[in-house]
Amino acid sequence: MTSFNHMQQEAKEIFAANGWPNKRNEDWHYTDLSARLPSSFQNQSLELSEDVRLDKLTCDIEDALQLDFINGLLTEVEELPDGLEISALIDHPELVQQSDEDVTDPLLYANLAHLETGIVIDVSQVIEEPMEIHFHNTSSEEASFVRIVFRLAEGASLTLLESHSGWGHTQLVSDVYQHEDSMLRHLRLHQAEDTQVSLLLNRVSLDARAQYHNVAISLSGGLGRLETRVTFNAPGSHAGLATALLSRGKQHIDITTRLNHLSADTTSDTVARTILDDEACGIFQGKVIVHQDAQRVEATQKSDALMLSADAMMNVKPELEIYADDVACAHGSAIGEIDHEALFFLRSRGIGEEAARIMLVEGFVSEILGRLDDFAAGAVLQENLLKRVATFLKKSA
């Protein structure tokens, strides 16, 4: 077994040689990191200041488990309930060992090369209390490199509420291994300062009948890439990915999904709603791959974008790569501005223009928030997020 240090050394060499990906890399066609990111990062401060105030996404449940990563370092961990265990990734080098394909994956080698904190979370049963994970950088000098591996045993389930705030640079790789009949509900809120760089990669591997539900809301941040890759290994597995992206200023946010249907009788469903104001640039790249033996796969992908400003920019690339014949795969994409007739309708009912606009935009993202219905404390979360969306829109207006 290759040691962890050896692998990290290797990753450092690859990063030194290849650096960040540029436009020539088709996966990074619309998000050229080499032009935007430094090639090296300073040593991170190991002391945490006391007065960090976190703008956390909370479900207001007292028993909720809390994990805080400040500047890439995990703060104190409370007592864990039965069925939940946390261990250090350094003791599990096998979980880091990368496949050949991944050696060239910039997000992975960059993460490993700079890794500060790596943990493994084992879930062996149904956990009722949601787990809140928060990432925060205290200054623009800070860079966080974190990797978390989730392992859900057969029949286990977990609700994960992940949020990001602060400045600097955050790079997170979450690897999720879900065994038979397991269920992970994953809410991700990305709301950071305008200068923040967030590169968030989710890799999910699903066994038979495993279900992964992801709802991602991105409200701000400077440069962001929210990437989710799901591999369907056995029949009955399902992934639902819903993303709402609200962006303004000079933000550049990239939503990338890659759904790899290796097995027959698997399903996936991707929805993305993008709202762009000012000079923001939004990107949706979605790819569905159905392998030759993966018959009876149903995969749908939908991307809609609303452009609020003349200087905003939207790039969409929804791909299908199909090698099996008995499938039903579809993708749809629509881009446009606010419907003037709908606006007129609301105004003719006595609603002010600004309020009418906000109402229409809220309606546009409500489908994404609606996906939280099945989450623990779903209603509280919806209310919380809707407030954030409204604040965002008021600032925009």
Binding site: E26, Q292, Q295, M307, L308, S309, A310, D311, A312, M313, M314, N315, V316, K317, P318, E319, L320, E321, I322, Y323, A324, D325, D326, V327, A328, C329, A330, H331, G332, S333, A334, I335, G336, E337
Partner: protein
């Protein structure tokens, strides 16, 4: 799964297997002496081609410049096609039937061997002359290998002021037009294959429609690749001046060969104010045998420029042949209120690989584009739609609708969709839809319970699948196109 359906699938597989080779009725080659340049590509070959065609100095310079650029470029690798490395030095870049030196005045003087070839092809060239007085006739500029050998209806077109001739003739007789428009839509160094074509293009068609003229007939060119190991590099330049209209048909068949033949054509369309160009293609080159041996490599760059206001360019293509198709007929919507259209049927069987689609570049205000692409994969083929819709900052109220559907027949083929949608203008409305599926059980059942047998039902559904595109073909082409779709499709679906 019902018994009947299982039978269909079994039949499908068998039919697909039996279809290859023997059904390719256009597979033969004609033995005509041809004059060739030596193998390989260098400046001397380019000078040879240019001298052979008695070209002016500026065109030779143009070719040499393209060649220089080509040397610095590398073959594109992004398309979903896989083929052995092409040795560009192992190809002939010029070949002309010998009897070209004294150009025949009438069809009687045409090499009888050539006439027989056309006869086998079913090109009614001889018949055309007989039918000269008939309305809606088709003028044929037949390209045999690299040089146009017979052009009909020239005079008739000339009365209307329409120039329709081979490219080399245009260089001699209308150098000012060629010089003004050549390379303005597809620059020499646009991509690897255009640079190659610009350096060594042999011949092709030239069309000029004068202002406010409706071309009195459908213009048509039949291309044919005949010499083994001869790359054919056509260059088509079509200009529709203000307020004119032209419908241009392009159809291709090729003899059966064991070696791969390279084909890298460039088509440039220019539509000025209020002009409309309708460009239709039926492409049925030899696709290779059932083992994937042989077949044409078809790397084509086609682009239309709606250069002035209210212009319209419409591409319609039925792609059933070639081992490899790499082709993206595109529209640059530069003028205000311009319209671009792309209708495509691409059918792949056996080991055919197709990577085709379009680009719609919206630059002007109120521009609109429409893309309908139907991909059908059978056998072990791979069929990819690759398209780009790009709305630039000043393209207010631009509109695009894209629909790309794929139908899979059998479990060893593949279908891919790779659209790029980019907008920098909020007032643009873009819609994109794509589906991939096999023939639905519900549709089959519905047809069968209405009394159709399984085979008829499948063929009905498949024909319906293509209808959106077929109906955009001009009358003259519809028969041939439907026949081709029929051969490729009915055989493969039962």
């Amino acid at each position: 799964m019902s018994q009947a359906k299982q039978n269909i699938e079994k039949e499908t597989v068998e039919k697909v297997q039996s279809l290859a080779g023997e059904k390719y009725k256009y597979g033969f080659s004609t033995d005509i002496d041809s004059e060739k340049a030596p193998k390989g590509l260098n400046e001397d070959i380019i000078r040879f081609i240019s001298a052979k065609k008695e070209e002016p100095e500026w065109l030779l310079e143009w070719r040499l410049d393209a060649f220089e650029r080509w040397l610095t470029m590398s073959e594109p690798e992004w398309a979903m096609v896989d083929y052995p490395q092409i040795d560009y030095q192992d190809l002939y870049y010029y070949s002309a039937p010998k009897s070209m030196d004294d150009r025949p005045e009438t069809l009687d003087e045409v090499d009888p061997e050539l006439l027989r070839t056309y006869e086998k092809l079913g090109i009614p060239l001889y018949e055309q002359e007989v039918l000269a007085g008939v309305k809606n006739r088709v003028a044929v500029d037949a390209v045999f290998d690299s040089v146009s050998v017979a052009t009909t209806f020239r005079e008739e077109l000339a009365t209307a002021g329409v120039i329709f001739c081979s490219f080399s003739e245009a260089v001699k007789e209308h150098p000012e037009l060629v010089k003004k428009y050549l390379g303005t839509v597809v620059p020499k160094s646009d991509n690897y294959f255009t640079a190659l074509n610009s350096a060594v293009f042999s011949d092709g068609s030239f069309v000029y429609i004068p202002p406010n003229t409706r071309c009195p007939m459908e213009l048509s060119t039949y291309f044919r690749i005949n010499e083994p190991n001869t790359g054919q590099f056509e260059r088509t330049l079509l200009i529709a001046d203000k307020g004119s209209y032209v419908s241009y048909l392009e159809g291709c068949t090729a003899p059966m060969r064991d070696e791969n033949q390279l084909h890298a054509a460039v088509v440039e369309l220019v539509a000025l104010e209020d002009a409309e160009i309708k460009y239709s293609t039926v492409q049925n080159w030899y696709p290779g045998d059932e083992e994937g041996r042989g077949g044409i490599y078809n790397f084509v760059t086609k682009r239309g420029d709606c250069r002035e206001n209210n212009a319209k360019i419409s591409w319609t293509q039925v792609e059933t042949g070639s081992a490899i198709t790499w082709k993206y007929p595109s529209c640059i919507l530069r003028g205000d209120n311009t319209v671009g259209e792309f209708y495509s049927i691409a059918i792949g069987n056996n080991y055919q690989q197709i990577d085709s689609g379009t680009k719609m570049i919206h630059l002007g205000k109120n521009t609109s584009s429409r893309i309908i692409s139907k991909g059908i994969s059978a056998g072990k083929s791979s069929n990819a739609y690759r398209g780009q819709v790009s709305i630039h900052r000043k393209a207010d109220k631009a509109r695009n609708f894209t629909q790309c559907d794929s139908l899979l027949i059998g479990d060893t083929c593949s279908a891919h969709t790779v659209p790029y949608i980019e907008t920098k203008n909020p007032s643009a409305i873009l819609e994109h839809e794509a589906t991939t599926s096999k023939i639905s059980d519900d549709q089959l059942f519905y047809c069968q319970q209405r009394g159709l047998d399984a085979e008829e039902a499948v063929s009905l559904i498949v024909n319906g699948f293509c209808k959106d595109v077929l109906q955009h073909l001009p009358m003259e082409f519809a028969v041939e196109a439907q026949k081709l779709v029929g051969i490729s499709l009915e055989g493969s679906v039962g």
